[in-house]
Amino acid sequence: MNVVVLLKQVPDTESLIEINADASDIKTDNLKWIMNPYDELAVEEGIRIREKLGSGKVIVLSVGPERATAAIRTALAMGADEGVLITDPALGKPDPLTTAKVLAAALKAVPFDLIIAGQRAVDDDSYLVPAAVAEYLGIPMLGMVVRQEIRGGKIQCEQSLQDGTAVVETDLPALFTTQRGLNQPRYASLPNIMKAKKKPLETKSLAALGLDAAQLGADALKTRILSLAFPPQRKVCKMIAGETVEEKAARLVQTLHEEAGVL
């Protein structure tokens, strides 16, 4: 069974984000990049499925700039078998639907039984790419999965809902998205990091996928970032002091009631 994992490289969640001079994008120099944390769950789950079945491949697929190869290498070091990066200067900054179109086109050349994707990328938080990939491929999608089991050409998933979970089943091929709790992603060991350097990692252009860069260009974008800004700054934190615990508690409650109006 072949599992394809959709992967995105994102800025480290522990990093502060800075905005460029014309406020159109973030500053990317000096930024540390990581694999999207929800995609780590996807890579781990893909590897576990292959290990359990004892056959098949885990193929990592990404759309992004050249530097995204580092995130793919990390997935290969965790234990994925192959990587494919779609990179093309003509793509510019694709919106989620464009990214999904490119991924769907790339998936035509990759035989798969299952696609696993992070529920969202923690940079643009759009949630749209997995749903659109499933739509363009005409396969069922199960969102926010915390547990899965594959048996006889079917996949059963436990999905996280607002008030609990639901166990659902669908036929393969299918796509599911990850929710925290699905697994604990492994760390890549040093020998595996070395081994990963020899694993196949292919880079493809849009033309190689039979896509017309002009059609995917800025004019076709349905969403476009106009400007970025920082959230409004808060005033300096007002420290509540007091001689005793009771005094501090009383002052806080009084302040929240009278000054902040939240109690």
Binding site: I26, M141, M144, V168, R180, S227, M239, K248, V262
Partner: protein, 318 residues
């Protein structure tokens, strides 16, 4: 000719989610601005009586889609129904709540229509007939202005941000003949947890971090219960197994905007701040006066949370 605004509601057990009223109200506001009509869709198995309530929130028309097969949410069944409605009525704008359920529905509908979608919006404006969405990115680290193009333009609104406003309208209720498509997804079992308000919808969130030192969050539970709020947790508290994953607040968990956020025993890691910095009022309780959390809080107390939180509970009870 596209016209009008369509709002998709979320109804369970004959009751709308709190966020539904917020989205309907924002739909009303935009409809007035565009001088167009507001149509609201209700999907479910027994939703007619609930649907009537929407006239108090400014709906001009309520479309009721009822079928026994719609009792449980199934994006495979719900999406085509919405697709048909949008295709037939050609709204310019479609609004959802960014609840867990409707994030799925909004993304699937956007994909099927190949329409632009702005997720987790915190503000909407119009430029001509086009939507300009304000939304946070990188958790709440940045705020982006996003221009949508094409028809329809879809926005999913972050719960707890938009006000719900009562506006009386003589709503027309229209029952839609639902064309059901077979679903590829079979529901095996529903595991309902104890009904509690979701973190993203609660007015008060009391969160705990490593400073709790273990899985006993009872001091926070008591305070949250007293304030009608819910308990949240940091990534490290969740990673330790002290709290379920659903409770995690942060860039890799839930992004919340309650009126009051109490951070107890939380140092203030950047990825946690990204999940709560859009809260109304932030109170930090930490024994370390140098903890970064105080830089992001409105009010701070240095001290032992196991003494302070019960003392705060006592004060509120007075």
């Amino acid at each position: 000719m596209s016209d009008g605004i369509l709002v998709v509601t979320e109804c369970a057990d004959n009751r709308f989610r709190k966020s539904t009223y917020e989205v309907v109200s924002e739909g009303r506001r935009l409809s007035d601005q565009l001088n167009t009509s507001l149509t609201v869709v209700v999907l479910g198995s027994d939703v007619l009586s609930a649907a009537a309530e929407l006239k108090h929130y400014g709906a001009d028309r309520v479309l009721v889609c009822e079928a026994p097969e719609l009792a449980d949410f199934d994006s495979d069944r719900f999406t085509p129904i919405l697709f048909d409605i949008v295709t037939a009525r050609q709204p310019k704008i479609v609004l959802f709540s960014a609840s867990i359920r409707d994030k799925q529905l909004a993304t699937r509908l956007a994909a099927k229509l190949h329409a632009g979608l702005a997720m987790e919006c915190t503000g909407l404006a119009l430029e001509g007939e086009n939507l300009i969405a304000t939304r946070s990115m990188y958790g709440s680290k940045l705020i982006a202005k996003v221009a949508l193009a094409g028809t329809p333009q879809i926005a999913a609104l972050r719960p707890n941000v938009f006000p719900a406003a009562a506006v009386e309208k003589a709503s027309e209720i229209e029952r839609i003949q639902v064309k059901l498509v077979p679903s590829r997804i079979r529901l095996i079992e529903k595991r309902q947890s104890v009904a509690k308000l979701d973190l993203t919808e609660s007015d008060v969130v009391v969160s705990g971090g490593r400073g709790l030192g273990g899985a006993d969050f009872s001091v926070l539970e008591t305070l949250a219960g007293l304030l009608g709020g819910v308990v949240g947790a940091t990534r490290s508290a969740v990673d330790e197994g002290w709290r379920p994953h659903a409770d995690q607040v942060g860039q890799t968990g839930k992004v919340v905007s309650p009126k009051l956020y109490l951070a107890c025993g939380i140092s203030g890691a950047i990825q946690h701040i990204a999940g709560m910095s859009s809260s109304g009022c932030i109170v930090a309780i930490n024994k370390d006066s140098d903890a970064p959390i105080f830089r992001y809080a409105d009010y701070g107390i240095v001290g032992n949370l196991f003494e302070l939180v019960p003392a705060i509970v006592k004060q509120i009870q007075k």
